[in-house]
Every structure is written in structure tokens, then in C-alpha cells.
Amino acid sequence: MTKKKPAWQKPGVVFQPRLAQAWQQGIDQIVNAIAPTLGPLPRLTLYDPSVSKGKLPEVLDSGGTIARRIIQIKGRDRDVGAMLLRHMLWQMQEEVGDGTATAAVLFQAVYREGVRYLTSGGNAMRLRGYLEEGLRVILAELATMRRHLEGKESLAKLAYSICYDEPLAKMMGEIFDIIGAYGRLELRSANGREIEREYVEGMYWDSTLLSRTMINNPQQQRAELENLAVVATDLEIEDPQDMVPLLTLCIKADIEKLLIIARKLADPVLALFALNREKGRLKLEMVGAKTPGTSVDDQRMALTDIAVLTGGRPLFQAAGDTMRHIRPEHLGRARRAWVNRNFVSIVGGRGDPRALRQHIAALRALFARSTDARERATLQERIGKLMGGSATLYLPGMTQLEQEFNKEVAQRTVNAMRGAMRDGVVPGGGVALLACRERLRAYFADAGEPEARAAGHMLCDALEAPLRTLLHNAGFEPGAILADIRAAGPGYGFDVRAGRLVNMAEAGIFDAATVLETAVHSAISTAALALTTDVMVHRRDAGDAMMTGKP
């Protein structure tokens, strides 16, 4: 006798048209939760984490975050459609940090029109092919509109088009003008009302002093050295005898200050060193810092960067290096260094500047090739550290809720700004997408197949959708304004804050090119793929909704 399965475990097969209808409903639920956040005059979404006791509600204005918070919607078939879109938005948020509301609206428009066309008897695979052709046309047209921004005013305007927060945008403009696309920027919450920033010279890594006895600046609780030699290794130095070749080398080279970056300096090593200094047998002042990084890979990368910066050569345990084999070429040089309980900082590394420039160029090339979010984050951080300084932005907030919201907005702005500075910007406010329609129409003008003509119409309509949503969110009637924009000519758009038509470039209203391109690419290719899905097989039901994004 077989045991009867509960309803949510029952397998099932779903065919058209039920599948498309259900997916459309699921997609609409997610898009309706996200669309109000599009544009400079958005509305917010409040997330109620009532299932997690003690957690505060969360104010959300990012489509990607809203999508992440919606972990399930009611209805087994609808949920699959919603999760397909959610996954796309999540991935996009990870990749470029912004543009998810635009992508959601575009996706919805293409999918809705696609379903309508297919219901009337069109061929899904052919339609998908033409949608992808149209996508390539749009991306090519967007590429022609790219330009790079320079100067704090332009960058502040760009930041404003991402965060819609004037003080934050002004600060971001200044900071990115200084640190550049790859520079190191730390975001910290602070109790207060004013946004503040701080710039720190030099490169620094997470580390700690290997002995507190080395502190020579008690006021700042750190050890400082000037005109120093640097040894960088992932070895644990246990035996005092291991230090003899290094000390001999230092005496011969007349080195008076030495920074050892190692995983460990054992007590006998420190004791021997202290004793020799005390008795005046050794003039060398030594400071030890723990090798940065927790994993072997992190340590290898940090030591490699330090070596390039200082002109030394790191000693690696995995390569069979020992302290007894140390040679002059292992020693790097720097103008200044300090170590405290959290960081080791090196200022003015004396490595070959050409080698440093080549090293950074290689890291940038790796960054450009990489599609892995974690690897890109690591590379971003490594490049930032080597650029010679860092900035810290203190974000105000009187409550934890406000602080978290401000930090999230700032982080999203930072991610999008970096992309915009690396890859350029295009006219904002939906204008760049509108401008693609002419090329798209020309491309499909002579199309013979009905699927090609349908794809052309579908994409032209979809490219209007973000601007329509943006205007609707700001309380304007889209129809009349779209007509005005068409009449005004290329480059003109509607500044919803000022409530008038403007030249977008002159008004400094831009979108990050990468963000917009990723949004277009993700939305159209995912919608095209979704339209070719005819059958869905359920293994088990996901159960009732835990949270929905009901409009």
C-alpha cells in the first residue's frame, strides 16, 4: 500500500496557454512591486520581515533588493514565472548594482507582447531569434551614445541620477573625481545628521601588529617606520636562527628600519631581537605585521601586490622558500609604513613604477574579462589598494533603519558609479532607449517574416516602457510628454524634477552605459528565452506565499 502524498508534493505538468498566463501573473506581481522605484521621483517599498522576530522593517528603493526579498509568491505556476524574473534581477544587481527597475519593466513589456503574439499563432523560436537580433541592434546603437565623464560636477550629476539624494551625490562627485573608478572607498554608518568624508594616503591591508612591544607611537597606538626595508612572506618564523641571514643582510646593506610581514614571529625570535637591541649589538628597528588575508590565495595576492609596490620579492611557503634563503632581491623598500591593531600601511613604495603600472593594467584586464562577482570584487579591491590612497564616507542616520537605508543607497550608487566611470555613460531618463528605436525600425523595415516585424514592433514599444513608468511615477501623463520629446529631437528628454523638456547631456542627466546595456540585455534575452518555454514540469509544490509584492 502506498502512502498518499500531500498536495504540495504532487508532480504535475503544465502546458500552454496556462503556463504563459500564470507566468505573466507572477511576473506582473514582481514588476508591480519594483516599478514604483524607477526614476528620480520614486516611491518606496516597505519590507516587513514579520517571520524573523525582532527584525526591523526595511525601507527599500532598489529593484534588485525588493526582488531578493520576495522569496515566493502564491500559486505554484505563477511562482515559477516570478522566480525566473527574480533570478535575473538578482544576478543583475550582483553584476552592476543598479538598473533592475528598468530591466524589470522592459522584461514585462517584451514578455507581455510576446505572449500576445504567440497566442495568435506565431513561432516562438523564430521570434526569439529576431528579438536577439534586435537586441544586438539596440546594444550597437547604445554604444554609439557612450561618453566619459570627468570633473566633480559631472560626476555629482551622474551620482544624483542614481541615488536622487543631493548631499550624497555631491559627495560622491568629489570622491570619485579623486579616487577614480577603481579607488578604494569604505562606507561607514555614523550617528549624526551630516555626511562626511575622509581621505587617507598610502596603501593599506587588513593586518595586525605581531607584538605590542613594537609600538613606537603610543598616542596613535601604532608602530611607524621611515625609509625602511620590507620583507613579505607567508612563513611562520619560529626559530631565532632563521632570522640570522636576514639580520646579516640588513647589517651589510646598512638597513636601519625593517618591516617584516609574516604569518608569525615566535616569542623566542622577538626576545632575541629585543635582547640584541637592548645590548646595543643591533641598530636595526624591526616591526612585524601579520600577513594580510585569511586564505592562502588572499595571502598570495596581498604579498604579490606588496612586493610589486615595494620592489621586493615575496617568500612563499608553497614554493619551498625559507628565511634562511633570503637574498637582497627579496627586500623591498618604502618611504614610510605603519602598523596598528587593524592595518598595515605602506606609503611611497620604492618598486619600479613601470612594473607597478603594468601590474595594475594586468589586474584591470583581468577585471574586464571576469564575470564572477566575487573575483571582480577582489580585483576591484586589489586595484583600489594600489592606487595610492583611500576614502571613507561617513553616512548619517539617527536610527538603525535610516542608517541601513542610507548605506544601501550609497553602496548601490558606488557600484553604478564605478561602472559608469569605467565604461562611460549614455543620456539618461529613458532617452537613450528611445533613441534606439529609429535604428531598430530601419533594421526591421524590410523584414519579410511576420516574426521579424513583430519583434521590431515589440522592441520599439518596450523601449518606451521605462520612460512611461518613470513619468507615471513622477505624476505626469506619459502620452503628451512622449509626443513633446519626439518633437524636440535627438538628445532631448523630460527632467521630471524640473518638470520641463531639457537637453539631457547639457542638464547632466546620464545613465551608466554598462547598467543600461546590462538591463537591456538581461531583459530582452531572458524574456525571449521565457517565450520559448512551452511546458513546465513540477516536481513539488512550493506551498503558500510567504511574502508577495502586491501592488
Binding site: E150, G151, K152, D177, I178, I179, G180, G183, Y199, E201, E226, N227, R335, R336, G348, P353, R354, L356, R357, I360, L386, M387, G388, G389
Partner: protein
């Protein structure tokens, strides 16, 4: 620059007929347009020489009488035309100031930048009273030369010639970006921006071994000007460039003049060897006076040929 001489003239500056020569033995001043020179540090009562590696005069010298001199470890300033001096240290360990540039709008913005041989660029925004290192993006801290845009008040543009090439700042020296030079053309010893840089985007770079490079797009691309090999220690453009497209290039053993924006060059015989610095206080018109400093400490007045 030659290293086996004793009293190199590193820099020359003139304003209102008052000239300064920064030399390994200290700073010298002339009040008659370079005909006679006196030691400018007399008021400091030095017991040892104070090598002075750079000097710059305020654009409002006629009214503010302000002069800055770069030395090892700091910047000296005088508010009385060089009679008395105060020092501002740049921090430890001491850096040798290799280049000084002053904002053309100094009277209003008080901006002054010092390039150093070891620690990159220091910036002062309050007339030289306080200095801070601003080296964001400056991956090479050995500064040989600095050049400031004539339209600095609007474009905040600066260039730094370094051992590995050129860096540019478009925010008044707070941050720097690499400029791609053709491979093998570094180090860059001298830079000169067109007086009409805001319009024509033209600048010239003097290299150690590849002559003079020219860019007409703010440093994005470069072409080589046909100059003889050898370190180009100094480059001067005519004050009315490009209307009068004259350029003067000082090599160690030759003074070259181009009258066609660097297309062709003609050597101007000076009879001097080991030249290290040049100044054209009245521009580069035919017959204009020249002041040339040598690695032996000589400062000589000449005139440009009339043809």
C-alpha cells in the same frame, strides 16, 4: 642632467626685472634682469649651502612680492621679493622638491604644487602655508617636472612628468590619471603647455632619450617632434603660441628653436656646454633676451637670433 658638476642651475624665474636662479649652492637673485646676481639667502645666515632645486614667482609679484623656493625637506617662501625667507616643512622623511608650479589665479585661489623626487606631489591651497601629499592615482612618485594649465582656474588641469611617463590631474592636483605614452619614451624631464591650451589642447613633453613629443588632444595621443637625441631639460613656448608657433628646447649640449610648432628644429649656437636651465623673460621673438644656466653654476644672458 649631468651629475658630475658642482653647482647645477636647476631653475630660472623672472618677473618685473627681478630674476631668481635656483642652484645647488642656494638661491640667487638679480634685480637688473639677469645682468648681476646676489645670494638671496643672506638673511638666513646659513652656515652651509642650501641646495635649491626649484623656484617660482607669484603671478602677482608686482603687488604681493611673493616667491617660493623648493629645497630638500620643504618649501621656502618670501613675501618681500626675496629679502627674507620662511620655511614650511613637508613632513618626514624629508623630500627633495624637484618642481614648483603656481596657479595663474594664485591671488584668488592660493594654490601651489610641489613635485618631489621621492614622495610625489604636495599641494597647498593656502598660499604655501600648509602642504599635504595628494597622490591618488599617482603610481610613480619621482616627479621630474610639473606643468599647470594657463586656464587652471577653469579646468584645474596639471601634468606631471615622471620616471615612467606622464600623469594628468583635472582636479587641481588632488588626483592623477595615467597618460599613455609610446613605449620607451619615458622618463619625461620637461613639459610645456600651449598658452591657448584651453582651446587647442596642445602640450609638449621633453624626454630623456627620445627628444620632444607633441600632443594636440590633451595628452591622449602623441607624435614625435624631430629633435636630436639627448635629455630635453627644458621646453619653452612663445607666449603668443600658436599664433607665433615658436618652441625652445634645451638639451644638455644644444639649444634648439622651432618656428613651426615642433615640425623642424634649428640649433642656436650658444658657446655653452652643460646647459641645465633656460628662461625667455620676454618671449621667443627674434632678438628677445635669453637667460641660460649651466651645470657649473654659470648664468649667462644671450639674445635670440634676429632671423
Amino acid at each position: 642632467m649631468s651629475e658630475n658638476t658642482q653647482d647645477i642651475v636647476y631653475a630660472l624665474q623672472c618677473a618685473q626685472n627681478v630674476c631668481f636662479a635656483a642652484r645647488a649652492s642656494g638661491l640667487y637673485r638679480s634685480t637688473d634682469g639677469g645682468r648681476s646676481w646676489e645670494f638671496a639667502y643672506t638673511s638666513l645666515a646659513l652656515t652651509d649651502s642650501l641646495p635649491t632645486t626649484s623656484v617660482v614667482i607669484s603671478p602677482d609679484f608686482a603687488t604681493d612680492r611673493t616667491v617660493f623656493a623648493g629645497v630638500s625637506g620643504g618649501v621656502l617662501y618670501s613675501l618681500d621679493g626675496g629679502d627674507s625667507w620662511q620655511i614650511v616643512e613637508l613632513g618626514t622623511p624629508p623630500s627633495t622638491v624637484s618642481a614648483l608650479v603656481i596657479s595663474p589665479d594664485f591671488g584668488r585661489d592660493g594654490v601651489l604644487l610641489a613635485g618631489t623626487m621621492e614622495d610625489g606631489v604636495f599641494r597647498s591651497g593656502n598660499r604655501g602655508y600648509n602642504w599635504a601629499a595628494w597622490n591618488f592615482g599617482l603610481l610613480d612618485l619621482s616627479i621630474f617636472t610639473l606643468a599647470i594649465s594657463p586656464d587652471f582656474a577653469a579646468d584645474e588641469t596639471l601634468f606631471a612628468g615622471v620616471e615612467s611617463g606622464i600623469f594628468r590631474s583635472t582636479n587641481g592636483g588632488r588626483a592623477w590619471r595615467e597618460i599613455m605614452l609610446p613605449v620607451g619614451y619615458e622618463p619625461v624631464l620637461s613639459l610645456a603647455l600651449s598658452p591657448a591650451y584651453a582651446q587647442d589642447g596642445t602640450l609638449f613633453a621633453g624626454t630623456e632619450s627620445q627628444g620632444v613629443l607633441r600632443s594636440t588632444d590633451r595628452g591622449a595621443t602623441w607624435t614625435q617632434a624631430a629633435t636630436p637625441d639627448g635629455p630635453v631639460n627644458s621646453l619653452l613656448l612663445a607666449p603668443d603660441f600658436p599664433t607665433r608657433p615658436y618652441i625652445l628646447a634645451l638639451l644638455e649640449h644644444a639649444l634648439l628653436l622651432s618656428q613651426d610648432a615642433g615640425q623642424t628644429w634649428r640649433e642656436y649656437p650658444t658657446g655653452l656646454k652643460d646647459m641645465s636651465a633656460v628662461l625667455a623673460p620676454a618671449g621667443l621673438a627674434p632678438g628677445a633676451p635669453l637667460i641660460i644656466g649651466t651645470t657649473r653654476g654659470d648664468v649667462v644672458s644671450l639674445v635670440l637670433p634676429t632671423q
